[in-house]
Symmetry: C2
């Protein structure tokens, strides 16, 4: 219940329990700005596109890097579930991590400043969000009741004040907002300048658009549902990777009694992607989401599904059955969901000790 | 979509379409501070307690005042549904109003300042909240998408971007937070100093603790559900008037496709009520709410209920049937809910012209 602050803690929180996953196609100069906050942590870099290209990582960071060749070698035929030429490839990093927590960030996201002008330690805030409970079953009008200076308000049931374990912390963006292509086209100059000083739980039964730009989660609680789908190269759709994950994750969190938070921390999103390119990637999604969202809103998972894996396999069946009619793509996606779980279980079935020795013996192509 | 601002608009918004309802037992000196914002509007003052006491209202305000004798005279035997010696009596003001909108505020609430030090025109922000749509069916991570500088984010279904009509605007409090007696006792010095610059829609299917201290609503859309129950004198419970209304209102808004917002504007809540007195009023509610909230969470209203009145009568039946077993109080409350609707319809069945002449001919005891 410590007051969130942007100061650097003496001992970095969860130093040995969290990996930072970064999908990229370019040199990671953006890490220079994050050095004070990220340097103590281990990075998992997922290189997208041409595997022969060399990605430069600034000195002093501890990282492992996977390119497409590595993914193909590690997963074999199951590598088909990992997208290519799309930042959806980042979910491979979630799978190979052996840590309890993941933070993922895009390489065009910089350190934002709070209203007092202080640099925001986004990672620290995410960790605080994950380590303190959520309140999915009843809305607290003063937002996060566990934050210093706040509490549950009058009328909040006492039986619900323990809250629920937090599985996901969804952070926001100053400067370039996360708009779809049509909104980008209509409002090319709009910038998000509003710093809303709140973290809130998205209530049970409510879906939200989860953006993968600045996102943390508890791998042990929800990892196998954080699949970013089939996007990019050879697929009819892009820019719906995080949305797909968000819908699946929220339905499963609701089923398992886990919490999803949104709000702080902000990062500084530096540049808008090309709206014309985005429109091409998105247009089927814009159409399909009108059917996908009602599907997820009404999806129910049977009581027997007590693990994330079981929930996800059940969801894949429902996707095939109900969304298969929307487009053959969803049949392929449903199969990929199953492949993803098989691959996840294969890489995560060993104990953490065995896993780290396996990883050291050739999991990563480049480890520093 | 105008930017919310705390400046005084040239022509006060909804000047002839909004009443300000104030329950009180004391002279209304607090209105001096609100003069720049409230003076153009009509006030409905509901005097609680001893009807022989004279309530002084600062010069220049346009008001009508009702004491217990007036309530008894106007409602006859149906006056039994209006609480006595409890601020729940304020809902009589909602009933006698002939306007489309209501703002209600407690007499210990003062003008708060925004982070720039400017006085907050709470009423103006409530009106903006009510006049612009809500988004109850899907969560927007950048909060109110209709606010200047914001929009719907990527992944928000386009079919839902029209939003839903807003029925309720729930404002918050700086300084003394709205805590229950146990929390007041445990944290006597806690003050709310955090200004969260956001208005958000409480999603469909999610209940919230509605506080009556700083609340606005659309009478035409939801008025008959804004019953503050049986509290205070002769009742086993107090301080649950607004909570009761909030649960009923939210269930009915969800059924009718109406929106409920919370967040801005803040008022400055000047003094904490006595926690020992509050504990005596609240303790049954603290126990009962553990059964009441699950009741409301699972309550469903049949499709045939297409008006607020029909929904409310249906809810009263379910209260009697399902909460009657918790305590005989709920049987009495269910009957009072029916009486309230009968009284509401009696006072609101005439046209607005007839109504104002009726009111002028003896509705109010004191009109200035």
């Amino acid at each position: 219940m410590a007051e969130p602050s942007s100061s650097k803690p003496a001992v970095p929180l969860l130093k040995d329990e969290l990996d930072i996953v970064i999908p990229t196609i370019r040199n990671l100069d953006f890490l220079e700005m994050w050095r004070p906050f990220f340097e103590p942590y281990h990075l998992i870099i997922v290189q997208d596109g041409d595997p022969n290209r060399t990605i430069k990582v600034p000195d002093g960071f501890d990282y492992e890097l996977y390119n497409r060749n590595d993914i193909n070698r590690i997963l074999g035929p199951k590598a088909s579930c990992i997208s290519f030429k799309d930042s959806a490839c980042r979910c491979f990093g979630y799978m190979v991590s052996k840590k309890k927590y993941i933070y993922t960030i895009d390489d065009d996201c910089f350190v934002a400043k709070d209203p007092s002008g202080k640099d925001i330690n986004a990672l620290e805030q995410h960790i605080k969000n994950l380590l303190c409970p959520s309140t999915p079953f009843f809305f607290n009008t003063l937002y996060d009741p566990y934050r210093a200076g706040a509490d549950f308000v009058r009328g909040y049931p006492f039986s619900l004040r323990e809250g629920a374990p937090t599985a996901v912390s969804h952070g926001l963006w100053l400067n370039i907002p996360d708009y779809d292509a049509p909104t980008q086209l209509v409002k090319p100059l709009e910038r998000n300048t509003r710093y809303v000083d709140a973290v809130l739980t998205i209530p049970k039964g409510t879906l939200f658009p989860m953006c993968g730009m600045n996102l943390a989660f508890d791998r042990q609680l929800i990892g196998p549902a954080m699949y970013f789908g089939l996007m990019g190269d050879g697929q009819p759709i892009g820019r719906y990777d995080d949305m797909w994950a968000g819908w699946c994750v929220k339905v499963i969190c609701d089923h398992l009694g886990l919490g999803v938070k949104t709000g702080l921390p902000y990062i500084w999103h530096s540049k808008a992607s090309n709206p014309f390119v985005n429109l091409k990637k998105e247009y089927k999604g814009i159409f399909w989401q009108e059917e996908i969202i009602p599907f997820f809103q009404s999806a129910t998972i049977p009581k027997e599904c007590t693990s994330v894996q079981k929930c996800y396999i059940e969801l894949s069946k429902q996707v095939k059955e109900k969304l298969g009619a929307v487009d053959p793509y969803f049949t392929k996606l449903a199969d990929a969901m199953v492949t993803w779980i098989e691959a996840w279980d294969e890489l995560n079935s060993t104990t953490s000790e065995e896993a780290s020795s396996k990883s050291a013996n050739g999991g990563a192509a480049a480890t520093k």
